[in-house]
């Protein structure tokens, strides 16, 4: 049976793990390769590097990080952050990563996902969907409009108006500060249609809160698409992982801080999930 995946995520800036934590097996807590090896030994199912390098000149550093990781760790590796062109994707794949996660570029140009999946195959194109619940119906008309909203083949994802009876999530950028007038559930379906091979879904309401995934959002998107969905944003306990995988129907559970700060190990997470009847690889 296909196992539910547990995926630790590491923020990498200028080639270093952000707030690297010293641990018995790490000689250099800031080295992404050391951290990847650590998670590999613990039995993580995949690793995600989120490159938050701001400066354009330093963006090539991640390629070296990916290459050094792929030389040493033989497990699936996804890299996200700052991917703007097909050449960016090619460079990352050649360096040895398996999947790239694309967010802002897809929001600006949805057909980029079509071009990327046609060139490299859907299996390596992950679309990161950052979603935030729309709380105030009256403010939807203040949300940002994209130029491609004029394109009839794409604009069925637009968030125009809604009754307020059903919950609605919009796409959010800039770490949740800006709202785009795109319906997150319809957007995920559109991304699938254009060739995405996986959705990495982050609740911007929950991200960093440790209150658990937005289960309703996760379930709606998991049910709406027929590609795998990775739940992200808000994990504070092992039970949250179970909720995302079972109630949220996600195919994989991503978490950053609980693993990074060693609150729980990957192994503990899987043992907990197995005890609860969730199929995991131990």
């Amino acid at each position: 049976m296909l196992a539910k995946r547990i995926i630790p995520c590491l923020d990498v800036k200028d080639g270093r793990v952000v707030k690297g934590v010293n641990f018995q097996n790490l000689t250099d807590a800031g080295d992404p390769v050391e951290n990847a090896r650590f998670y590999d030994e613990q039995g993580a199912d995949e690793i995600v590097f989120l490159d938050i390098t701001a400066s354009h000149e330093k963006r090539k550093i991640i390629l070296d990080v990916v290459a050094r990781t792929a030389n040493d760790v033989f497990m699936p590796l996804t890299v996200g952050g700052g991917i703007k062109t097909l050449d960016d994707i090619r460079a990352l794949l050649n360096a040895g990563c398996d999947k790239v996660s694309i967010n802002t570029t897809a929001v600006h140009d949805p057909l980029f996902i079509k071009r990327a999946s046609e060139r490299f195959g859907s299996q390596c194109i992950v679309v990161a969907v950052d979603a935030k619940r729309v709380k105030d119906i009256g403010r939807v008309n203040e949300f940002k409009i994209m130029p491609w909203f004029d394109d009839a083949s794409l604009n069925d994802v637009c968030l125009k108006s809604f009754s307020g009876e059903e919950p609605v999530w919009a796409i959010s950028t800039h770490g949740g500060r800006k709202m785009i007038a795109i319906d997150a559930v319809k957007w995920a379906k559109k991304m699938e249609e254009l060739g995405a091979g996986e959705i990495l879904l982050t609740s911007m309401d929950r991200d960093g809160t440790k209150d658990g995934y937005d289960i309703e959002l996760t379930r709606r998107i998991s049910e709406a698409v027929s590609i795998p969905v990775v739940a992200s944003g808000g994990v504070g306990t092992l039970e949250h992982l179970r909720e995302g995988l079972v109630e949220g129907k996600a195919d994989a559970a991503l978490a950053a801080s609980i693993f990074h700060y060693r609150e729980y190990s990957i192994k503990e997470s899987k043992e907990y999930l197995r005890l609860k009847g969730v199929p995991v690889r131990i």
């Binding site: 049976m1 033989f74 050649n94 027929s226 795998p228």
Partner: protein, 217 residues
């Protein structure tokens, strides 16, 4: 020397580094002459069957690969390198593949069908089949030496192989249906999963292939 064929698709680097990690010497090449001189051939790759065949054709590699297989040199096909061995692809019609083995390549098609087991409470089946799944070893096989039955390997694919000859099936995997996740026929070894992404068990598969090449079949 083992030639890993580079036809511009997929994660070759990991395959190469995986072999190196377990002490097996490999050469990455897209030259037919190098393939012809090699003792064994590894054809990796992820993506579309059609693109794979087009790239192999453009690089004039088809004859070299087929000849190596027919000459009895050990062959390891990974993912696409497994699928293109077969004669026919559902998506791209007959004679699409290398036609070394009889059978066809078809797409997972679940519609709204749910898994009948525990997973039914969890989710419908997604395509691609992506993640870690178990293999059921169907026949003892030098490639799986030291690998326990029901070991987990990493898969990422939307199509699977249906061989005409069930006797070549080396392993199967459950994903809504029980599909063929590995075949073995004489010098031909092929796996749907990615040994280069499957941690320790995956590296063991690469090591075993190295042993097969070194010691002979």
């Amino acid at each position: 020397m083992i030639a890993i064929i580079d036809y511009g698709m997929g994660n070759l680097r990991s395959v190469e580094k995986g072999f190196l990690k377990v002490g097996v010497d490999v050469t990455v090449t897209n030259k037919p002459d190098v393939v012809k001189k090699a003792d064994a051939v590894v054809l990796p790759g992820v993506g579309a069957f059609k693109d794979c065949m087009r790239e192999l054709t453009d690089l004039h590699l088809i004859d070299a690969v087929v000849k190596a297989v027919k000459d009895g040199k050990p062959y390891l096909g990974i993912c696409l390198g497994f699928q293109v061995l077969f004669s026919e692809s559902e998506e791209f019609g007959k004679c699409g593949g290398l036609d070394v083995l009889r059978g066809k390549v078809v797409r997972f098609n679940f519609g709204d069908q749910k898994l009948s087991t525990l997973n039914s409470q969890l989710s419908t089946l997604k395509v691609p089949h992506m993640g870690w799944n178990e293999i059921k070893i169907q026949k003892d096989n030098p490639l799986f030496k030291g690998i326990p039955d029901k070991s987990y390997f990493y898969f990422v694919h939307s199509f699977y192989v249906v061989p005409e000859d069930n006797a070549i099936i080396a392993a199967t995997t459950d994903y809504g249906i029980e599909f063929t996740s590995s075949v073995w026929k004489d010098n031909i070894f092929a796996v749907q999963f990615h040994p280069e992404k499957s941690q320790a068990v995956g590296l063991r598969v690469l090591k075993n292939f190295g042993e097969i090449v070194r010691k002979g079949l």
